[in-house]
């Protein structure tokens, strides 16, 4: 009986933490539950959760993707610069393509170089992140561009950034749509299972006929694509495309994934739970903001949370 309770607590710890956090903050700081703050949370939630959902697949597959920061920056500056020459639909299309292509390039470097370990993948993706981020700076000369300077029609970006359908923001609807697709992909398709098996043991997966290289290409491409989506959603909201837009997103995304209960050891995890993890990360920073906790202190808390989540994961693995 006691054991079952312990198991449930471990399993739903994140959810409990989210609830606890909401309650405590709501009691101490009534501003927390105002509709203005809720909209604010919903908007912040979008970009992070999208990167984190993509990251979930990479982590389940046994890697960690640090390149999302660079990809986000690159996609933002290129997309914005293309609105005038090729129109807004074309710009979004090219932006998403760049995201996916960057992820694909990561996977090519990884499979071609034979980087089978998590650590190798981590450092390759870090290198790629510097490369993409550097390209973004080169492309713009370091200048931040504003949506309002664009001469042609950019209504789509306004819609993505601040539009609503009923009580939901458009970015939230985009998120729901992507969650549905990725959830089905993960839980019902062959490739979804292949990703888990590959993350569980690459050698054994290869020797039982799973195309490991193909799986690796797919996870990194998904992550790159999702970083692209996130980038467009984010710069639409803030209406500026800075060449360092994605900075810090990689860590927050990893935090969301791990807090959500996906194991850094690979093989196990779920996009749905990553959503919970991201929620906790966002609520944590939102409530700390409202409570007047400094940014420095917030970083300390985030670091602690990441370590706590990894620790808990290790406890789960032990028998």
């Amino acid at each position: 009986m006691n054991k079952a309770l312990m198991k449930a607590v471990k399993e739903y710890l994140v959810l409990l933490l989210v609830l606890g956090l909401v309650l405590i903050t709501a009691v101490i700081e009534p501003k927390f539950i105002t509709s203005g703050n809720m909209t604010n949370i919903m908007r912040q939630f979008g970009p992070l959760i999208m990167v984190a959902m993509g990251m979930t697949f990479v982590i389940i597959g046994g890697y960690i993707d640090l390149s999302v920061a660079g990809i986000m920056s690159l996609v933002a500056v290129v997309t914005l610069s293309l609105i005038d020459p090729i129109g807004q639909v074309g710009a979004i299309f090219v932006g998403l393509l760049i995201g996916a292509a960057a992820g694909f390039l990561n996977s090519l470097v990884i499979t071609r170089s034979g980087a089978m370990t998590q650590a190798e993948g981590l450092f390759i993706s870090y290198g790629m992140s510097v490369l993409y981020g550097g390209t973004a700076l080169l492309y713009t000369g370091g200048v931040t561009n504003h949506l309002s300077y664009i001469e042609s029609n950019y209504s789509l970006f306004t819609l993505i950034g601040s539009g609503t359908v009923g009580i939901f923001s458009v970015s939230f609807i985009i998120f729901l749509f992507l969650l549905l697709i990725l959830y089905i992909f993960q839980n019902f398709t062959y490739t979804g299972r292949a990703i888990c098996l590959t993350g569980g043991n690459k050698t054994a997966a290869n020797l039982t006929g799973i195309n490991v290289n193909r799986t690796i290409i797919i996870i990194w491409t998904i992550s790159g694509f999702m970083a692209g989506v996130s980038s467009i959603v984010l710069f639409s909201r803030v209406t500026t495309a800075s060449p360092v837009l994605g900075k810090g997103f990689e860590l927050n995304a990893i935090l969301a994934v791990v807090v959500g209960g996906t194991s850094l050891k690979g093989g196990k995890g779920s996009v749905a739970r990553t959503v919970l993890g991201a929620m906790l990360v966002i609520l944590l920073s939102n409530s700390m903001n409202l409570l007047g906790v400094t940014v420095y202190m917030q970083n300390v808390m985030k670091g602690l949370l990441l370590i706590l989540a990894i620790w808990l994961d290790n406890l789960k693995g032990r028998r």
């Binding site: 019902f188 299972r193 569980g200 043991n201 054994a204 290869n206 020797l207 039982t208 195309n211």
Partner: protein
Amino acid sequence: MANKENDIILTMTGVVKTFPGVKALDDVSIQVRRGSVHGIVGENGAGKSTLMKILSGVYTKDKGTIIFDGETIETTTPHQAMQRGLSIIYQELNLVNTMTAGENIYLGRFSEVNGMKGTHQKAREALDRIGSDIDTWTLVQDLSVSRKQMVEIAKALSFDSKLIIMDEPSSSLTQDEMKALAKIINQLRSEGISVIYISHKLDEIFDFCDTVTVMRDGKVIDTRPVEEFTRMDMISMMVGRSIEKEFPERPRKVSTPLMEVEGIKTKKLHDISFTLNKGEILGLVGLVGAGRTEIVRALFGADKIKAGTIKLDGEVVAIRNPRDAMKRGISFVPEDRKQQGLILPFSVENNISIATLKNLYKFGILDKNKERQIAEKHIKTLKIKTPTARTAVESLSGGNQQKCIIGRWMEIQPRILIMDEPTRGIDVGAKYEIYLLMKDIVENGGSVILISSELPEVLNMSNRVLTVCDGRINGEFDPEKASVDEIMAKALGVSVEGAMA
């Protein structure tokens, strides 16, 4: 002091250890004499490893007393145990690959021996004591498994060990390396050091041990001087029922050629050519690293083939990766179950369905019922002991894990089943079942390629034996006519080629 002959180094009395739901050790009492080699045999799960882990301080006993070298031991840690003079050499050796042999021997104790110079000097002495010529400056990663083991033994000696426990020391040693180990064990015995020797291989038990304890289901069944055991009653005690023989009747169904391999070259193989017939069990014999595994890996598409052809039914086929091989009905049970065969955190059913997983999707959606049915079918026919199909495969015993891998391949109805060390670390009962399975496959028109370091297994099961040496096939034998010595000499490359040329 008591008379040397009766001097006891280790006494365990009434040791009990319970894990949730299992009594791993039930009132175990064993005495080990100074300067004797004490064998412990038993099937997987008999409690041997638990016992060793209690001695070394990995687990704590629930009840009972342990007296080591006259001192009652309540709790201990692995480090304390070593300092008391009790060392364990595990099956998976515990060495730092990127450090030298000498550094490994004195790892963590450099200051006690005056730094690097003293380390290598002392390590040399320890190695000399067991008559090993390993250079203390060699990196451990460059040593063969048997030489690594010698480094471990030297390390144990450097602690002034009075008792050395060897857990399955021979599982990856070749016949020749075994002889070296035997010599070392005799040396230890003559110096008054006791050895607890845990093994599945009864030949070794009879060769090395003075006294043997048989364990089953966490209990000691019997302890006797080795002369008072016969092979068959030892096996019967281990499995708890009488066993008539170790190997089934050799299958005799060899017919026409199925696979012809011509001039295969890879990084490690030179010009490999042979034929595998329908209904044949073909044995590959050779030293670890001689190229046995590399041959089958090439056939299965796991290693890149640089030159040569593979023909199936007389037609040249391209095998570039394991998927190509599987499409042709080739399946592969790899030597390292845990690293290469199983996806450990996953369930039994996931591990069984994996080879045919793609076929279980209808309109892109997994048919979970069908997956379950497939798993249940193989659990039943192969008698896999598991609580449910959803149990994590890592919690199963070695033999049952191996059966999961075999079940996975049965599902693709293989024409060729490649088995690399299929019975390593598996108990007697499960071994016999795996032999029967091999027989069953060839009797139904399939073929088996069997790699094993256990010569009796290859000689009793195969229809034909090829010896592999230095990346080449250098001999072919009829196992019913050839002698063990003849085959081993060829595999070691010590032939009379000079005289023939």
